[in-house]
Amino acid sequence: MSSTPNPLDEIFQAVLGGDEDAFDALFRRLHAPLLGYARSLRAEQGEAADAVQNAFVRLWTQRETFDASGSVRALLYTMVRNDMLSRKRKESRRRELRGAHAGPEKGPRTPSEHAAGRALRQRVQKWIAALPERRQEAFRLSRFADLTHEEIARVMDISPRTVETHIRLALEDLRERLTAYDPDLLPS
């Protein structure tokens, strides 16, 4: 599946062998993108961090049970995803019980952007957030988490071809919005 030998695979194998340094390296490398992904699943900030933590704790404490030949990225993203989805389910049940709607939760946006490029950056973020849920997820996993189509397919439990379609459509959509926003930004 993955064509070139991936250093992540080696790190993963070391982690499964109980190498703590490897675990640290893995964590430093994947923590931020995983957190970004968890947040994009419309989560409260604390929940996202918690889900990511849970995934790493499970990875370490249950390292005997994982298959070393698998993709560690697919594994971690799947764990985070399942965790987030079950939280969301619980949350919506709670909300149903209360009969109240807490309104749409938008991911918190810390205004730490540089002044330059802010307008476009915000726009791009908004465009991505406006994509259909599944398409957006596939695209984020591809663009920001650098997962391969196969890995995304495993995480989202869909076929690699569907992943491709999602990404294609996402790109086409972004291209259209970009053209509408400022055709000069695109190469002709």
């Binding site: 430093r28 923590h31 970004g36 330059a116 476009l120 391969t148 397919a153 076929s159 071809r161 695109l186």
Partner: protein, 355 residues
């Protein structure tokens, strides 16, 4: 001179993506491949859209946060008993009605640890129960077929989009699977009967090879069974016994419609045609076009639309030994129906045609 990067063209708008330096130069291999399907001009635009999308990267936490999180994880990992230790951690039992320990208030930190240990224990026990009792599910993704090997060595080859479910734990009690879609079974001989449940019927065999097609989503949903070898009992009731049961001999087929109470009398069948899907062919005899379009969609994982509804209901006989793409199949259908075939993005559309 046109500058492709766009960055130099609008410097105030586009600072380099500091989230991941260096990624501006190359596209990931799988994305590059995906873009190859587009004409050059379009490809450049999409490549640019991809690069620009990098601006939408979520904020990355400061390194300090990562280190704090790492420390926290180490702490939690140490607390987590590697083998499920038998802690007396019943403070929060699995049942909500259970009395809480009110004897003395423990320091918050300690209580939290206990709760965490209890949670871990519950998760482990629950996980174990789930693991043992969970249904095994084999799914052939749209566009791909897949062979399921069952605990007794029997196999089922699943057509694209098909789902096969069974319970490992109860397998010894009786060999039983649930099928949604189409599969070719080769059942090994065994003492216990092997049962295939579909949405509306049950097939009962001892050791045979046979094909079952049961798509509840078809326009006229039914379960069709074609027997290749051995003997088989087919019924609309889950025991596949009783007087409404039909027994098939090799080379025979039968079907139960969604509202039928018993299967049709066995009729001689062309087993080669019934199994044509395994070699990548399609065989439909007097079936609604909608059903055929759905099959093509599942087999190739390409959306196929038929408009209007009257065309969807039109009955068609369509047989091809082998089709290599959804486009080829739909074009064949369009030629035959004198309908119009168009393609928009991924979606294939069959429309119009004389009534």
């Amino acid at each position: 001179m046109k500058d492709r990067s766009g960055q130099r063209r609008a410097p105030s708008e586009l600072p380099p993506d500091e989230g991941a330096p260096g990624e501006e130069e190359t596209l990931p291999e799988h994305v590059r491949q995906l873009l190859e399907d587009y004409p050059e001009a379009e490809r450049r635009k999409l490549r640019h859209a991809w690069k620009l999308a990098g601006q939408g990267r979520p904020e990355t936490p400061a390194a300090e946060t990562t280190e704090t999180a790492l420390k926290e994880i180490k702490r939690r990992a140490e607390e987590t008993p590697a083998p499920p230790a038998r802690t007396n951690a019943g403070e929060r039992g699995p049942e909500p009605g259970r009395a809480e320990d009110k004897r003395h208030r423990k320091p918050a930190r300690f209580r939290w640890r206990l709760a965490a240990a209890a949670l871990v224990l519950c998760t482990l026990t629950g996980g174990l129960a789930w693991w043992v009792l969970r249904p095994a599910e084999v799914v052939a993704p749209a566009g791909q077929s897949r062979v399921a090997v069952l605990p007794d060595g029997s196999t089922a080859e699943l057509s694209g989009g098909t789902e096969l479910t069974y319970y490992r734990y109860f397998w010894r009690e009786g060999r039983r699977v649930h099928l949604q879609g189409e599969a070719f079974f080769e059942v090994t001989k065994g003492e216990a009967p092997f049962l295939v449940d579909t949405f509306n019927a049950t097939v009962r065999v001892l050791g045979t090879t046979f094909n079952v097609r049961a798509w509840p989503t078809d326009m006229t949903p039914d379960t069709r069974v074609t027997l290749v070898q051995g003997r088989l009992a087919f019924s609309a009731d889950p025991s596949a016994r009783g007087d409404r049961t039909v027994v098939l001999s090799p080379g025979e087929a039968s079907r139960v419609g969604a509202s039928d109470r018993a299967p049709a009398a066995p009729s001689p069948a062309d087993t080669g045609r019934a199994l044509t899907w395994r070699r990548g062919g399609v065989a439909f005899s007097d079936q609604p076009l909608g059903t055929i379009a759905d099959e093509i969609q599942r087999r190739f994982d390409v959306p196929v639309r038929v408009e209007p509804g009257s065309l969807r209901r039109r009955r068609v006989t369509f047989y091809r030994r082998k089709v290599s793409s959804a486009q080829e199949a739909t074009e064949d259908l369009c030629d035959y129906l004198r309908a119009e075939c168009t393609r928009r993005g991924d979606t294939l559309r069959i429309s119009g045609g004389p009534r």
